[in-house]
């Protein structure tokens, strides 16, 4: 009973099957992206957690490649939007066009009508166009001319953006950022992985030869499985504690939203399932805190002056916040007083 999970259809999805399916996707993507297992797993976890992914890094580290590899590994509809300053909202959502034959307006679906939408360089589009994604990302539907069109399931937006080159870009509005479940950075590959990349990518682009290892229905089953993962009350409490900590941290002008709490726990379920567990650990939350929370919060001017990024602020919080205890028991903390949990949110002076 505990080793298996009942799926939505009533059939049993064996644990190993889940793990195999997940591992297959990860392994497939890794043919293209070398040495980034954790990042790839996190991207998959966001997919299984029904979230959207924001990949943020400098050019040339494989942001778009990861997005495309993920899309190709799953046999489902994939659309790609190259965000440019002259892109219009109707290009994203779709537009009603007058049909002379029928003498009526008919709806031409936009790029978001797919299982996987890859939005490249999302911050290059105007806020008007960026905002077109708001409804579809959160409510998984598009409303055009008063008519609402549901999107396909599963639906995931994978967006990339360049944080360094800000010339001619429009930073994502807060509401938009909050809709992305996680923001991940690719990071440079280590030297071994880069060598392997030189070998593999020398002759042909491995992306071309990438074959799907899964399909939309399998992903739907996996998503259903993820929803069943057990979360103990203390772990829920810990998630709430973490998010509350960001709201109370003196370094932060804006903390994380309740939506962030939901998405944090949902992603943690996916991570736990991908690791073959049927329960969520606080460790999962700790690992996910930075990717899930850091892009939603806004540091104070002081913290910015002190060159403290939201990543370091969140990881500091994680290191200081004591775990909630499920029962009254002696809890020890023999860390040095400077790092004590008595005042976990004290700003560190630079």
């Amino acid at each position: 009973m505990t080793q298996q999970t009942r799926d939505e259809a009533g059939g049993l999805l064996p644990h190993d099957e889940f793990r195999a399916a997940g591992d297959a996707i990860v392994a497939n993507i890794e043919q293209v992206i070398e040495g980034k297992t954790a990042t790839v797993q996190l991207a998959l976890a966001v997919l299984l957690a029904e979230g959207h992914l924001l990949i943020e890094d400098v050019p040339g580290v494989g942001k778009t490649k990861l997005a495309k590899a993920l899309a190709r590994s799953i046999d489902c509809s994939v659309r790609r939007i190259q965000f440019t300053p002259d892109l219009l909202p109707s290009d994203v959502t779709g537009v009603s066009v007058y049909n002379q034959e029928t003498h009526d307006f008919e709806f031409r679906p936009g790029a978001v009508f797919a299982n996987l939408v890859v939005g490249d360089e999302i911050n290059r589009a105007s806020p008007k166009t960026q905002s077109a994604l708001l409804e579809c990302m959160e409510e998984r539907q598009v409303t055009v001319d008063g008519i609402t069109y549901p999107l396909q399931t599963p639906f995931m937006v994978v967006a990339t953006q360049n944080p360094i080159e800000m010339e001619g870009t429009y930073p994502l509005p807060e509401a938009q950022r909050d809709r992305f479940t996680a923001r991940i950075a690719m990071g440079y590959p280590d030297s071994g992985a880069e060598l392997a990349m030189l070998d593999g990518h020398g002759a042909s682009d491995p992306l071309e030869s990438l074959r799907p290892v899964s399909d939309a229905s399998t992903v739907s089953r996996l998503i259903t499985h993820v929803r069943q993962i057990h979360v103990a009350d203390v772990v829920k409490q810990y998630a709430v504690d973490l998010v509350t900590a960001t709201r109370e941290a003196p370094d932060l002008r804006l903390g994380a939203s309740p939506r962030a709490t939901l998405q944090l726990l949902r992603t943690a379920r996916a991570v736990a399932a991908l690791e073959g567990r049927d329960y969520v650990l606080p460790d999962d939350l700790q690992v996910l805190a930075v990717p899930v929370l850091a892009h939603r919060i806004i540091p104070t001017a002081d913290a910015q002056m002190a060159r403290r990024t939201t990543d370091t602020i969140v990881s500091d919080l994680v290191h200081r916040l004591p775990l909630p205890q499920e029962r009254r028991r002696t809890s020890y903390d023999t860390r040095p007083a400077a790092n004590s949990s008595r005042a976990p949110y004290e700003p560190r002076r630079a």
Partner: protein, 818 residues
């Protein structure tokens, strides 16, 4: 300006309050009226000078001038202009008064009558102090310094009343000083303007100030420490408690070289403290068997004992007429003696042998012939060396029997006054029944204080319930010389014969040169009984074994050796009567007496070595318990945890453990709970062990992270321990977060393995501490204490908040702010 005037008034009032101790010197209150006038004039002149913006030296001159005017008006020579303005004649008159006052000082004893020279001196002194106080408090704004001249007034009665200074006047003076300080500080605070709280509200009324609370607490702690510390210090036993208590006796004061005081109070209850021996005087005499040196008398009987009177008398440099008449039955011999008092004996009294006939003594010493006390109001005995001649009288019992009862109009009759204690009167009646002569009555009483009657010597008295200390002593029959002397004197007085208590020294140790050295152990008290026609005759009722250097006489023989020596007729006739009265008690307390006589007759307080040993061992045991408590508690905790764990944690093993199949689900649930509890117990034990072995524990770490950190950092060389700690972490993780908490492997061996690895990896000190004083237990105790104190603080805060609402001062502040 207004505040200055206020402060000036306070300074004047404080000066007058500080003069309160002088009330102990003067017989009447004229001095106060005159001083008030002088101080008022000084204050008024100072206020006027300040009103005219006079500089400080101008104020000083004005005040001195005012004082001069006041003195002129109060002590006129008759040659003043307009009766007020001083002339050279006035100054001459003042000089004469000052000289005369010196004479008066040496002439009069307290309390002093109102003589012009004395009053002049007093008004001059207080007026000068008023000038100084005003100058310091108002002119210089240093009111704390003003305490010095005020203290100077207090030092006058201190110098005169050597033994004890009345405390009430000092308290009045201190209150005046505090008033001055407070007035000055209030004035300082007022200069800042109005007080405001943080939210801009004025605090004319009252506002709870945390600083004030701290001040009160500091004051309370300071007073408590000041009172308790001297009590705790053993060397200070002669301090406060003794002054308050009923007198600790001779030894306590005289033993100290620093004070050298002897408390001339013969108490009926008390304790003698003779921890050390100090030489007090060296006596050389040509008397072959000298009796007691004598320096004090106490003849004021209260219910708790005899107190001395102030001696009075003329200067000492003359021949004294003998107080003991020359008559048959009295043998008189004139001897000569030289006394050298050491620095350790420091009294306004000099020890001499009775009867003093002639003394060569420089300095201002006087002799009270009735008390036979050599005293001085100015000088002290320490370091004095003096020669004197005295007449030693010995009385034959036969002659003493001829003494008649004192006539009713005799001036010494007040020496027979006693407080009314029926039990004492009954005892006296019983003792003196059938005794015809005065001497026989006294002997009957004297004989009563014998070992036969159960009386014994001890350095401390025993408590009693009768309510009268005399009855307590007569019942307990335990005490030292003070009690014996006072009790006998009381009983003799109750029999209608004048009696008093004398203080002095026993003979002391004879040195090679023939001189006697008396120490504080020779300090002694005895009874003197007045026989008409004979004078004061000494009786020493204290058991002789308790008194080093005790001397007995024919008329008051040692009761212990009476049988052996077969005292001659007269005393023998008195003997049976005396012992008859105590026969019943005698037999009843025979056993007790044997016990007492078995004890060493030393001067040390009787201690019980057995009980002190017991207390020591109990204390050591308690200390040991306290020290081993953490270790014991820790091992008990470990045992309990080990006992609570299942021998096997295999799920199947428990599920099939003889449980009816119908209850299968419940069993699984119970088993789940059990496994969860086991994992938690194992994890708690692991954490405690880690704390014991000084491993870091992080409250923000998950069990998995803790386990992997330990496996990585601590057990990197010990793969078995690493996997054991990982197992424990996994078990705890499952128990906390998973639905199914079974780790599948037993935890107890893993726990043992981890502990063994920790023991092996730590140094000896850590191992020893983990065993003897487990840090985990200490941490737990600390946490408990912190929790308790936090609860206490919060409940006190609630209580305070609740009571503050009803504080009248707060209500007042609220009303003002509206």
């Amino acid at each position: 300006m207004i505040s200055h005037r206020n402060l000036g008034l306070v300074a004047a009032a404080a000066t007058l309050l500080a003069a309160a101790p002088l009330s102990a010197i003067f017989d009447r209150w004229t001095w106060l009226v005159q001083s008030t006038i002088a101080v008022a004039v000084v204050a008024a002149v100072a206020a006027l000078a300040r009103l005219g913006r006079a500089p400080l030296w101008g104020q000083l001159l004005a005040m001195l001038g005012g004082l001069l005017l006041a003195l002129t008006w109060l002590f006129p020579s008759g040659a003043e202009l307009l009766g007020m303005l001083p002339t050279p004649a006035t100054i001459g008159h003042f000089g004469a008064l000052a000289e005369a006052s010196l004479v008066d000082i040496s002439t009069y004893r307290v309390k002093v009558p109102d003589t012009d020279p004395m009053l002049f001196l007093t008004v001059l002194g207080i007026g000068s102090v008023a000038v100084l106080v005003d100058l310091m408090a108002v002119g210089l704004r240093r009111p704390a310094l003003a305490g010095l001249p005020m203290l100077a007034i207090y030092s006058v009665p201190v110098a005169i009343y050597v033994e004890s200074v009345p405390p009430v006047p000092f308290i009045i003076g201190a209150a005046g000083y505090l008033w001055l300080l407070a007035a000055d500080n209030v004035d300082r605070v007022r200069r800042f303007g109005r007080r405001f709280t943080g939210d801009g509200r004025g605090v004319d009324g009252w506002e709870a100030s945390p600083l004030a609370a701290t001040g009160r607490r500091l004051a309370a702690v300071g007073v408590a420490v000041a009172v308790l510390l001297p009590l705790a210090a053993p060397g200070m036993a002669g301090g406060l408690l003794d002054t308050l208590g009923p007198g600790t006796g001779e030894g306590s004061g005289a033993g100290r070289g620093a004070t050298g005081q002897v408390n001339l109070f013969s108490a009926l209850r008390g304790q003698l403290n003779q921890s050390e021996t100090t030489d007090l005087a060296k006596v050389t005499t040509n008397d072959p068997s000298p009796s007691y040196l004598r320096f004090g008398t106490a003849d004021q009987l209260r219910s708790d004992g005899f107190r001395p009177r102030s001696p009075r008398g003329p200067s000492v440099n003359r021949e004294f007429s003998p107080t003991v008449p020359d008559r048959e039955g009295i043998t008189r011999a004139r001897y000569q003696a030289t006394v050298e008092v050491t620095e350790s004996f420091n009294m306004p009294l000099l020890p001499v042998y009775a009867d003093l006939a002639q003394i060569k003594l420089n300095g201002r010493w006087s002799f009270d012939t009735s008390q036979q006390v050599l005293f001085s109001n100015q000088e002290r005995s320490s370091g004095k060396r003096y020669e004197f001649e005295y007449v030693r009288s010995t009385y034959s019992p036969t002659a003493l029997r001829q003494a008649r009862p004192l006539p009713a109009e005799h001036s010494l009759n007040w020496h027979t006054l006693t407080p009314k204690v029926p039990a004492v009167d009954a005892l006296v009646d019983e003792l003196t029944q059938g005794q015809r002569t005065e001497y026989d009555k006294v002997r009957a009483i004297y004989d009563h204080f014998s070992t036969e009657n159960g009386f014994s010597y001890a350095l401390s008295t025993e408590g009693g319930t009768s309510g009268a200390e005399i009855v307590d002593f007569l019942t307990n029959k335990v005490g030292f010389c003070q009690q014996y002397a006072a009790a006998m004197a009381w009983l003799v007085r109750a029999a209608g014969i004048p009696a008093r208590v004398a203080f002095g020294f026993t003979t002391g140790n004879k040195t090679d040169g023939g001189a006697y050295v008396v120490t504080n152990r020779n300090l002694h008290t005895w009874t003197e009984v007045y026989f008409d026609g004979f004078g004061w005759v000494p009786f020493d009722a204290t058991p002789a074994y308790g008194v080093p250097g005790a001397v007995r006489s024919d008329w008051a023989p040692d009761l212990e050796v009476k049988e052996e020596e077969a005292a001659p007729g007269p005393s023998a006739t008195a003997g049976p009567a005396g012992s008859d009265s105590g026969t019943n008690q005698n037999q009843l307390e025979e056993g007790l007496e044997e016990e007492l006589s078995g004890q060493p007759s030393g001067t040390d307080a009787p201690t019980n070595p057995g009980s002190s040993w017991l207390w020591w061992s109990i204390g050591a045991l308690a200390l040991l318990l306290l020290l081993t408590a953490p270790a014991l508690q820790r091992s008990a905790l470990r045992r309990r945890r080990r006992g609570s764990r299942m021998p096997s944690t295999g799920r199947a093993g428990v599920a099939t453990g003889g449980v009816p199949s119908g209850n299968h689900r419940m069993v699984v649930l119970a088993d789940t709970d059990r496994a969860r509890a086991d994992a938690h117990t194992a994890w708690d034990e692991l954490l405690d062990t880690l704390v014991d072995f000084r491993q870091r524990i992080d409250g923000a770490e998950t069990p998995r992270a803790t386990a992997s950190r330990l496996a990585r950092d601590t057990f990197h060389a010990d793969s078995e321990a690493a996997s054991a700690v990982r197992l424990l972490g996994r078990a705890e993780e499952l128990a906390r977060y998973a639905q199914d908490p079974h780790p599948g492997e037993p935890l107890l061996p893993a726990l043992r393995r981890v502990r063994a690895a920790l023991v092996a990896g730590s140094n000896r000190r850590t191992r020893l501490l983990a065993k003897a004083l487990p840090p985990s237990m200490l941490l737990r105790w600390r946490g408990a204490v912190a929790d308790a104190s936090a609860r206490l603080v919060s409940s006190y805060g609630r209580f305070r908040a609740a009571t503050l609402r009803w504080s009248p001062r707060r209500l007042l502040a609220d009303r003002r702010s509206h």
